[in-house]
Every structure is written in C-alpha cells, then in structure tokens.
C-alpha cells in the first residue's frame, strides 16, 4: 500500500510538471488539460482515509506552489487554499470507495466519469476564491468554458488514467479490499 501511495505521489508530481508543457485547448476557449485530478481521485478511491488526507495535502500544496504565481508581498490566492479545495471532492470520491472495491471495470469507468464531473468544482472554487479576493465577479462564456471545459476533457482522460493505475496498483502488490498479494 505504501509503495502504491508513493507511486501516486510521484505520479501527481509528474502530472503537474507534465501539465506545464501542455497548451490549452483553443477549441474549448482555452480550457486546460488536467491529469492531476484523475490521479488524485483514483488515490481517494483506493487508499484508506488517513492516506487520502495525506494525498490531499500533497496535491493541494503542489497545486498552489507549481501552478499559481506566489508574489513576495501579497498573493490573491494564498498557497494552501487548494488543500481545502481538493479536500471536498476528494472526500466525495472517498465516500464512493465501496463501489470501487467491487473491482468491476464498469463501476471503475463510472467512478472515473464522476471524478471528471467533479473536476470543474476545483476550478469553480478557485474562481470563487479569486473573485472574492479581487472583489469583482465576472461571468462570460469564456470563463464558463474555462471551468466546464477541463471537466469535459477529463471525461475522456479519467477512464484511461483509471485503467492505467489499476494494473499499476496490482503490480505494486496493492489490491484494496482484497488480501495483499504475496
């Protein structure tokens, strides 16, 4: 389990760095491609509660330090907020763990899509926080697409990520809900 947890940490870190090189999808009004939520949600589904919290802390911290410019004097999105933002959908996914433990590919697919639907929540919460700090709420079709678009892209990405991570967890000897492979 610890091996797989460490592998997830490395994968999340790698996904953040990989995302730095991905251009936004102009067809979807500049929505970005996000791999991190899919990996994170998989971790929430298969890890025990304590490790889910550790994963949330790691993901939120990296998100704020790698994807948000932290100015020296003041930041309108203080680092650490994303830990709380990731916690909410992470706990929702963790609540669906019994479904995940059935180990059926169709439920895994369904859970991946639920994760994809929860992805815009992260962006919406960031936007709400930013609007609160900048004391101005702007709404335009571009902003709606920037929130919803990554979720739509994740509908395609998340099942692939889930189907890659399942054999990886098995390879590392972690089968949640089942006796550990010898």
């Amino acid at each position: 389990m610890i091996l797989f947890f460490l592998a997830l940490l490395v994968l999340i870190f790698g996904s953040f760095v990989f995302q730095l090189f991905l251009p936004p999808v102009l067809l979807v009004h500049g929505a970005v491609i996000l791999f991190v939520p899919a990996v994170y949600f998989y971790g929430c589904l298969c890890l025990p509660f304590s490790l889910t919290l550790a994963l949330t802390f790691f993901t939120g911290m990296l998100n704020d330090l790698l994807t948000i410019p932290q100015l020296r004097s003041h930041s309108d999105f203080p680092a650490g907020i994303s830990i709380l933002i990731y916690l909410v959908p992470g706990l929702v996914m963790h609540g669906l763990k019994p479904l995940f433990l059935r180990h059926r590919w169709e439920t895994h697919c369904l859970l991946a899509e639920i994760g994809a639907i929860l992805t815009p929540f992260i962006l919406l919460a960031q936007y709400a926080m930013l609007s609160f700090e900048r004391r101005e709420i702007l709404l335009s079709d571009v902003i709606v697409w920037r929130i919803v678009g990554p979720g739509l892209i994740s509908l395609l990405i998340a099942p692939c990520v889930f189907f890659i991570l399942t054999p990886l967890s098995h390879a590392l000897g972690y089968r949640p809900g089942l006796p550990l492979a010898r």
């Binding site: 760095v17 995302q19 730095l20 090189f21 991905l22 251009p23 936004p24 102009l26 500049g30 929505a31 970005v32 491609i33 509660f49 304590s50 919290l53 550790a54 949330t56 802390f57 911290m61 990296l62 704020d64 330090l65 790698l66 994807t67 948000i68 410019p69 932290q70 100015l71 020296r72 004097s73 003041h74 930041s75 309108d76 999105f77 203080p78 680092a79 650490g80 907020i81 830990i83 709380l84 962006l123 960031q126 936007y127 930013l130 900048r134 702007l138 335009s140 571009v142 902003i143 920037r146 929130i147 990554p150």
Partner: protein, 271 residues
C-alpha cells in the same frame, strides 16, 4: 481493531488539520521562497522538457517538409530531394539567424542592461498567465524585474530560483502597469482580464478620463511610475475605447505575441 482504526482516523484528521492550518498561516515570504525551491527542484525537468519539445517540433517540421517535397517533386531523383530538403533547412536557419539578429540589435540599442533568456515552459493554468525562463538568481535575476522583447513589454519576474525564474505575463489580471497613451496626456492602468490567456490575450486600460479621445491604433507606452517598468516601453495598441459610468476603459492589443515568443530579455539595470 475497530478502536485502533478509529484512533488512526482521528489522529490523521488532527494531523491534517494542524499541517493544513500551519501551511496556510505561513508568511507569504516563506511561501514565495518555497515556490523558488520547488521550481529549482523541477528546473532540470523543465530544461529537458523544453529541449525535447523543441526537438519534437523540429522532427515534425522536417517530416512536413519532406511530405511537401514528395508531393511537389514525385518525379525527381532521391539526391535532388535531399538537396531540396537541405535547402529548406537552410531557409529555416536563415529565419532563425534573422530573428536572433533582430534580438541582438534590440539588445545593443537599448538604454537598459538586458539579459537574454529562453522560455522553458508556458504554464497553462486556468486563471493565471505565467511562464518559466532559463535564467535565475545565479545570473543576477531578482524579483520584480521587468521582462521585455524587441516588440515590447512581456511581463515581470515573480519567483526566482537558482537556475530558473517565473515570469508573470502582461496578460495576467494581477499584473498592473501604469501606462500613457502616445500623443495624449492620458494615463491609466493596464492589466489582463480573468478570461485572458497567452493565446487570446485581453488587456484593458482602466482609470482613463471619460473625455479621452482615443483612436484605434494609438500606441500604449509604459509611464514609468511603479518602479518595475522603465518609461517608454511599448505595451500595445488601442483596439477600442468605451466610456463607462466613472471612467474610460480601453481595450489593448498587446505588442508581443505572448503565445509564440521564444526569447525574452530581463531588464537587469541601466547602461
């Protein structure tokens, strides 16, 4: 066993709460330094990724040229095709040399000490526009230094690691620059909007007078107040001007193509 699990759950919740609050309450200066450390940690990956990306671009370009040549010259012999391919490669080199010459000319003519830098990655964060360059504190870069190109203002340095630095782009909503409109007495503050990106930049000048007579195509220059950007640098050109209830607001087309620029200059001082 159940009591042990309950104990672990409560302990992990407590630890999460304590570490979460501690991290949130860290001084902004410490978080800024942490970001620098993290970017230093990933700088080898960024450099490798950037060179791989450039390499892939080259391979793609090369294949395309070969395809075009094959379509156009199906009847030509193989050595002839090779010559044409190398000729097209030379043309690419020539445009590269021209681009670098323009940059060198700008550097020599400029009144400022300029440090050339190469863009490693353009972060595609949803609400922030920034990029990473291949120069850091060991090259004399510090936070709040202006970053420009031969065409105009590009952004400013926010985080500095030893080998890399993070540049907040002019298209970001949180970067505000005082500007003046060429040929008028008008001054205002330019910034990006939340829907702005490198690919579809959307800049607005606020706090202009309602009576300002601004026409499309007028040049927008930095005013020099604020201490980051020297005065007289080109920001862009006026796209349109709207009179609102309390102020005049102008849309600006940035002078720099933020999505495709590869080399920038950091203003490290005056000559």
């Amino acid at each position: 066993m159940a009591a042990l699990m309950k104990g672990i759950t409560i302990a992990s919740l407590g630890a999460f709460g304590i570490f979460g609050v501690l991290f949130l309450l860290l001084p902004q200066q410490t978080k800024h330094q942490l970001q620098g450390v993290l970017f230093q940690l990933v700088s080898p990956i960024l450099r490798t990724g950037a060179s791989v990306q450039e390499g892939l671009g080259g391979v793609r370009g090369g294949l395309k040229r070969m395809d075009e040549l094959e379509r156009e010259n199906q009847k030509l012999r193989f050595d002839n095709e090779q010559l044409r391919a190398s000729n097209s490669l030379l043309k690419n080199l020539e445009s590269e040399v021209n681009r670098l010459n323009r940059a060198l000319g700008f550097r020599e003519q400029s009144a400022f000490k300029l440090l050339p830098a190469h863009i490693l990655s353009r972060e595609s964060a949803t609400w922030w526009n920034f990029c990473t360059i291949d120069r850091g504190s060991k090259n004399g870069i510090a936070t709040d230094m202006a970053v420009v190109t031969e065409d105009g203002v590009f952004g400013k340095i926010t985080t500095v690691a030893k080998d890399v630095a993070v540049v907040l782009l002019i298209s970001d909503e949180s970067l505000r620059v005082s500007v003046a409109i060429e040929g008028t007495q008008e001054q205002g503050i330019v910034s990006g909007t939340r829907a702005s990106s490198n690919y579809v930049p959307d800049l607005k000048i606020r706090f202009l007078s309602k009576t300002a007579n601004l026409k499309p195509g007028m040049k927008v220059l930095t005013a020099g107040s604020g201490g980051v950007f020297p005065s007289g640098l080109v920001v862009g050109t006026i796209k349109d001007f709207l009179v609102k209830e309390l102020e005049g607001v102008a849309s600006v087309t940035p002078a720099v193509d933020l999505a495709s620029v590869q080399d920038v200059f950091v203003v490290v001082g005056q000559k």
